[in-house]
């Protein structure tokens, strides 16, 4: 921290923002100066943010490290706050690239597998129904995000699955 303020980098919804927190209620976000106050540290985790005179209730949820879950008007977003040094370290490690095929099919919510509509090795088109998962008595068709080859099926009908669990692994579609 120095006299001129503390520098941070904030990652929010895929975009990165440079922020300087001053000592006088001023915050500079991407070069624009704002008057900001944030109050309230009660048991409800609700904070009152006043940004350039405009008040908002902000829910400040679960944190680990610099990761915050924020609720604004019922919409929830995650924000990661790093100091300048940590942001540089992150940028360097991210430069190491990764090779990726089509994303695997993950369960978007907890539920029960009702039907698996594909077989291993099958080529599916984009939007093809792959697995049907029931949650809250409604059936949800999970579709292929892109044309892909079914590499491995990891679930069977009747099985309970967690949110984020991989159901089907896809591979690249290659000419056979």
């Amino acid at each position: 921290m120095n006299r001129r303020g503390s520098r941070y980098v904030v990652c929010l919804a895929g975009e990165t923002h440079d922020v300087v927190v001053g000592v006088d209620g001023k915050v500079v976000i991407d070069g624009t100066t704002h008057d900001v106050s944030l109050s309230g540290r009660g048991p409800a985790r609700m904070r009152t943010l006043i940004l350039d005179g405009k008040p908002r209730a902000v829910y400040a949820g679960r944190r680990t490290g610099g990761l915050w879950e924020l609720g604004l008007d019922g919409e929830f977003v995650s924000a990661e706050v790093m100091d300048a040094r940590a942001a540089r370290v992150r940028a360097l490690s991210a430069a190491v690239g990764s090779e990726r095929g089509p994303a695997d099919l993950k369960a978007p919510m907890p539920g029960l597998v009702v039907q698996v509509a594909v077989e291993t090795g099958e080529i599916v088109g984009p939007g093809a129904a792959v697995v049907i998962v029931e949650a809250m008595k409604m059936e949800n068709e999970l579709r292929a995000p892109a044309a892909a080859r079914v590499e491995r099926i990891l679930v069977a009908p009747g099985e309970a699955v967690e949110k984020g669990q991989i159901l089907v692994e896809f591979g690249e579609v290659e000419p056979q």
Binding site: S6, Y8, V10, L12, A13, E15, H17, V19, V21, V27, I29, H34, V36, L38, A44, R45, M46, R47, L49, L51, K54, R56, A57, V58, Y59, A60, G61, R63, T64, G65, G66, W68, L70, G71, L72, D73, G74, E75, F76, V77, A79, E80, V81, D83, R85, A86, V89, P108, M109, P110, G111, V114, E134, A135, M136, K137, M138, E139, N140, K163
Partner: protein, 505 residues
């Protein structure tokens, strides 16, 4: 008046019924599953009975356990709410056989109207217009294909035992009929224990308008005007209002009279609803729901009638307290269903623990909820957390009030459909009353999940100030010779690890 009632339900409707009963001095008995130990409906009852594990099939849908609880608590009556056992004729019969009062119509009426194909036959016979379609359940996918072809595409395949949008599939092409039939039947079996499915002409852009009915045991049947429930997604109602912005007084009278005819045809006793689809100046009988509806509060707000009170009065053998001409229609009311779903992710069911709950208040606003802070929202039951209802002298003022109320509603810990509702309440077609059941599919722009610049800046500012404050409060220990900070030591799993003194601090 009956002395006591067991409410065979959970969530907001159980609480609504308990409230109504308490106000009449009726002793209330709540039932609850292991997942609902901390639900508000439990503590608001005079007595509470644990009836089984979270799975509805072994608790709220288990007739034996419900009747056992009623016996143990010496209940005089059972109110089924909506959903679960509310439209199961066998349940109504079992309640009567146990010598208890069933707060609802006779088992025969439920049976006749619960079988949607039988209902269509009865209504057509009574001179109530019905949507073209089959009157008998379909035996197979191929029979479905034949029937669909005869009715003409698009068609909708519907669970005969259904309701609430479950077990329904819209099919637009012949080669999709068999798959749709199977999916509808599977869902129907899971949801209602009955896989019967029939086919109807699918109206592309109808308005969903329904009439609230009440009958007593003395031959009196009245209607309490209509509700419009055209804002739906996947056949689930999202926003309801009373009256409909479409109907003229003459059409209102005509539809009300058709609904009363429908009720008289089945000797209706208690609260019920006749649902119509209205398109191009015509309306067709859709189905009759032999129970209280989710959206009953909008009718209560424009008529001043307490529908649950009337249910208890009629169930206790009383006559309806008003004649048709005495039932008021004053102002306008709107209801928004607040569900644990992520509307911008295809209405994915959301789960979590309610961490914060701010309920809107002030003039003309009503909250019928079923949750409190600390409740876990899981996947066992319906995602309806509560209903926000606003009333005003006219539709415009009710909308302005609802907009204000939605801005006040704050739920944290579980995602809800509130952001989508706020957008609909600002959308020009909605404001102008240009509604249809296709409204949501015709307004994909409502589903853009962009936060907006102002909210994005606010989120960045909040995050950075939270983190800045945290670092100021908890001096982050620095490991000598290493740039990294243990800035998250407080959130770790080893709370007894003391901070390493910072030589530079």
């Amino acid at each position: 008046m009956i002395e006591s009632v067991l409410v065979a339900n959970r969530g907001e409707i159980a609480l609504r019924v308990i409230r109504g009963a308490r106000e009449l001095g009726i002793r209330t008995i709540a039932v609850f599953s292991e997942a609902d130990r901390d639900s508000p409906h439990v503590v608001q009852a005079d007595e509470a009975v644990l009836i089984g594990p979270a799975a509805a099939s072994r608790s709220y849908l288990d007739i034996g356990r419900i009747l056992g609880a009623a016996r143990a608590a010496r209940a005089a009556a059972i109110h089924p709410g909506y959903g679960f056992l509310a439209e199961r004729a066998d349940f109504a019969r079992a309640v009567a056989d146990a010598g208890l009062v069933f707060v609802g119509p006779a088992a025969e009426t439920i049976g006749a109207m619960g079988d949607k194909t039988e209902a269509r036959r009865r209504m057509a016979a009574a001179g109530v217009p019905v949507v073209p379609g089959t009157t008998a359940p379909l035996a197979s996918g191929s029979e479905a294909r034949e029937a669909a072809t005869a009715v003409g595409f698009p068609v909708v395949l519907k669970a005969a035992a259904g309701g609430g949008g479950k077990g329904m599939r819209v099919v637009r092409r012949l080669d999709e009929v068999a798959a749709g039939f199977e999916a509808a039947a599977r869902e129907a079996r899971a949801a209602f224990g009955d896989g019967s499915v029939y086919v109807e002409r699918f109206l592309e852009r109808p308005r969903h308008i329904e009439v609230q009915l009440f009958g007593d045991g003395f031959g009196n049947v009245v209607h309490l005007h209509e509700r419009e429930c055209s804002i739906q997604r996947r056949h689930q109602k999202l926003i309801e209002e009373a009256p409909s912005s479409l109907l003229t007084p003459a059409e209102r009278r005509e539809m009300g009279e058709a609904a009363v005819r429908a009720a008289r045809a089945v000797n209706y006793i208690g609260a019920g609803t006749v649902e119509f689809l209205h398109q191009d100046g015509e309306f067709f009988f859709l189905e009759m729901n032999t129970r209280l509806q989710v959206e009953h509060p909008v009718t209560e707000l424009v008529t001043g009638v307490d529908l649950v009170e009337w249910q208890f009065r009629v169930a206790s053998g009383g006559a309806l307290p008003m004649r048709q001409s005495e039932i008021p229609l004053r102002g306008h009311a709107i209801e928004c269903r607040i569900t644990s779903e992520s509307p911008f992710e295809g209405f994915l069911p959301a789960t979590g623990t309610v961490r914060h709950l701010a309920i809107p208040g002030g003039p003309g606003v009503r909250w019928d909820g079923g949750i409190r802070v600390g409740n876990e929202i899981g996947l066992h039951y319906d995602p309806l957390l509560g209903k926000l209802i606003a009333a005003g002298p006219d539709r415009e003022s009710a909308i302005r009030r609802m907009r204000r109320a939605l801005a006040e509603l704050s739920i944290a810990g579980v995602s809800t459909g509130t952001p989508l509702l706020r957008r609909i309440l600002d959308e020009p077609d909605f404001l102008a009353g240009r509604l249809s059941t296709a409204y949501l599919t015709e307004h994909p722009e409502l589903f853009d999940s962009d936060l907006g610049d102002a909210s994005r800046t606010a989120a960045v500012a909040a995050a950075v100030l939270l983190e800045h404050e945290r670092r100021a409060t908890v001096p982050a220990p620095r490991i000598p010779g290493d740039g990294a900070r243990f800035s998250d030591w407080r959130a770790g799993t080893a709370p007894w690890v003391a901070p390493i003194p910072d030589g530079n601090g």
